[in-house]
Amino acid sequence: MNSSEHATWSDGVRAVSPILLGVIPFGLIFGVTAATADVPLLAAWASSFIVFAGASQIALVEVMDGGGAPAVAVLTAIIINARMLMYSADTGRYTASESLWTKLGVAYLLTDQAYLVSTHRFPDPSNAAGFVRFYLAGGLTLWTTWQISTSIGIVAGTAVPASWSLEFAIPLTFMALLVLAVKDRPGLFAAAFGGATAVAAVGLPYQLGLPLGTVAGIAAGMTSERWFK
């Protein structure tokens, strides 16, 4: 029992380590975006631990740099991060009997990567203790990596040659998580409809394609269940 508990902490660190290959370039890209934008650099840097959500941090910098209204910047961040409401609902099944402090910490560390890796490793919410250790270990590793890589990006990121196309590591990470997340036919339907809707919505403002695609995908997955019984 004890050995498996110890193993689970390091399991969490080990499980997210390959993802760091996608997180580090993403952090560098955010840092470079902030350093070359016309926004107060200290505030942009502080968003890494105040907001701690990469895509929305880039959006905040870009909207403010382009002279956008502060309300538009905040609303854009909320729309981009709305998907975490669904992660929160699912994660809550695992943390229902944890202390308030654990719940506050789990919520702070909630990201695409921490959520998806942990729920992939622990599909059954009844193994709450294992899940929480695994999740916190992975989440803290991701958090630390994000702070370091965004800081380096702000200071020195312009030195990374554009020809390396490191920004492609981000869609590659999501592609790999997608392949691992599709476990059955209704899941495949959810992915196909979610992806197609998001592609059809390319060009809509505020990255609306993301919430629209997510809702369409969930509806398609649930509808298709009856065909595959």
Binding site: S17, V74, L172, A176, A181, G187, G213, T214, I218, G221
Partner: protein
């Protein structure tokens, strides 16, 4: 100063999104229909993140851009190895190769 306010308000809103259902879950009974819906979050949101990023890296849909074959190769690597690192280790060089030959 405005940027600080924007970052702090966005931070509070994002934290609220992250916490609200984690905080409530122990106290409310979750309807079975919601439980079913939760199973499809991961494939739906990941496809909605991945497909536009791969098909329209410049903001306009272009099925012939170099990301498409490289992402397919990376996806096959992830599927074959069940590993995320493999997708990056195989997919990134695949992108460099495609870019070297077709640009």
């Amino acid at each position: 100063m405005t940027m600080w306010i924007v970052v702090i308000v966005a931070g509070i809103a994002t934290y609220a999104i992250r916490f609200v259902l984690i905080g409530l879950f122990g106290r409310i009974e979750v309807p079975p229909v919601i439980e079913r819906a939760l199973r499809y979050i991961a494939p739906a949101v990941l496809a909605a993140l991945t497909l536009p990023a791969v098909l329209s890296p410049g903001g306009v849909i272009d099925p012939w851009n170099a990301f498409v074959p490289a992402a397919i190769i990376g996806g096959i690597a992830a599927w074959a190895t069940k590993s995320i690192g493999a997708a990056i280790i195989v997919g990134l060089p695949a992108l460099w190769l495609v870019q070297a030959f077709f640009s």
